[in-house]
Symmetry: C2
Subunit: 278 residues, 2 copies
């Protein structure tokens, strides 16, 4: 059999702050090259020249035995620090910052703060809103506080283990959206009807569905060989849940082949959500 040699590359995400933006951008761009395995390292908080030289040491040590050049994604703001890394690293240097800042300064007619530490700061009012939303999602997880779901921006419903909680937490953490969830339970199937407190706020309710086989696998990990996890029960629950959601004309999304990011994005599109809209 012909064996294909797999190319491996080191990739670095370098930043004067946490490096999360460089990492997100770089990681998603690199994932376009699925023939190559990337060893990825984030080098955060490079906010003075001494640290820049330390970063160069790290890059050098991690790549000295490699044949190929490493790739660096940078969100460094300071031009001098950026130049040090760019000139001395012997890498493909992709500057996520300078490319975008210059045309924006021109268009907006103001200088960027160029101050180090503006990104995702706690001084940003959005930050506390996000933390509050995470706490809300935890408090209103799994129908724990079903009496007052009206405080929620959105409510996710679906059978147990279909992915409601991680999706709620993602909506909270990323966007500061107060997301509660309610599990559709056997009692609801018996009643052949969703609970009244869900129906009366159904304009804010979205459903999640999932393939019964995948659900069964997920549940098996939690409760092996249980009726709860059995394929036949998972078929029954998912079909019944979809029927109840269809009955109330609740929009629902299939988690089977979609990530929580993709589902969240579709929910936001459905509620026509904008950041800072007023």
């Amino acid at each position: 059999m012909l064996e294909k040699k797999i190319q491996k590359r080191k990739a670095f995400f370098i930043s004067d702050k946490t490096g999360i933006t460089a990492e997100m951008l770089g990681h998603s761009i690199l994932s376009q090259f699925d023939e190559i395995i990337f060893i990825e390292k984030t080098i955060p908080f490079i906010d003075n020249e001494e640290k820049a030289f330390n970063a160069l040491d790290t890059i050098y040590e991690m790549t000295r035995d490699d044949t190929d050049k490493p790739i660096i994604f940078s969100t460094l703001v300071d031009k001098n620090i950026s130049k040090i890394i760019q000139n001395k690293s012997n890498a493909i240097f992709l500057d996520c910052f300078q490319i975008f800042i210059a045309p924006l300064e021109k268009e907006l007619g103001v200088s960027s703060s160029h101050s180090i530490g503006k990104v995702r700061s706690v001084n940003n009012t959005g930050y506390f809103k996000r933390i509050e939303a995470v706490n809300f999602a935890l408090q209103y997880d799994d129908g724990q506080v079903s009496r007052d779901l009206s405080k929620a921006d959105i409510i996710l419903i679906g059978v147990s283990r279909c992915g409601k909680t991680p999706t709620c937490l993602f909506l909270a953490m990323q966007y500061g959206i107060k997301a509660a969830n309610y599990p559709i339970i056997p009692e609801d199937f018996l009643n052949d009807r969703l609970p009244e407190f869900i129906i009366k706020i159904k304009n804010k309710v979205f459903g999640l569905s999932i393939d019964p086989q995948q659900l069964s696998q997920i549940r098996e990990k939690r409760r092996p060989n249980s009726e709860y996890a059995s394929y036949s029960n998972c078929i029954f629950e998912t079909q019944s849940a979809n029927k109840l959601m269809n009955k109330e004309k609740i929009t629902f999304f299939d988690m089977t082949n979609q990530s929580i990011e993709e589902i969240s994005s579709q929910i936001l599109q459905n509620i026509n959500w904008n950041r800072n809209q007023f």
Copy 2:
């Protein structure tokens, strides 16, 4: 008093997938311009020409009364779709994708998949690891399962409401790290010692500290006028917790002026964490 006119701008994040990368990059770049208020909208899933024209309609409708041009951050992969938006939108068009992909294709000697939908896909093994880690963080929240913290990659300790849970969830969701947390409680202060099960795994333990005034404000919201939330109690608890962490030489970080992203980044640096390292 001189009143400064605040400039407002519309900004769009457009993508053939969820738009999260475009949004993260764009949002962090725009936050460098703190004199300007940006009304931000994400337009995801633009993966054919018809949807591109629908996106143009959205942009047109949202900006028709504006004097200034909107700003568009794009991670569109398809060149034709990208050209439609770029040529017909009358906006500052910042192409996050083409700028980075071309030099990478050259350097790596392979074509990017250019396939739509490679980013953050569920086919990516990292995805299920992240979801599993979120479930782990929830299961091991607030010392709920203190008997077996050895399964955790890291354990965060600190007084109640200092920010342990959101930080654990962020580490899980963003990096797939299994993060547990244990609240330092009055019993630990009485014993003048952290519990034995924490001490014996202290190489994986990190602490969070917080300014007592900020802690008091956070706790007031949860339990108004309680001893628990009182400033004097918060001084006592934070000082005692710091003393216990110092005693065991546990590295701890101050949450007072730092975001969960910044703290997480420092923790990862401390454990020298790399994605895909092997």
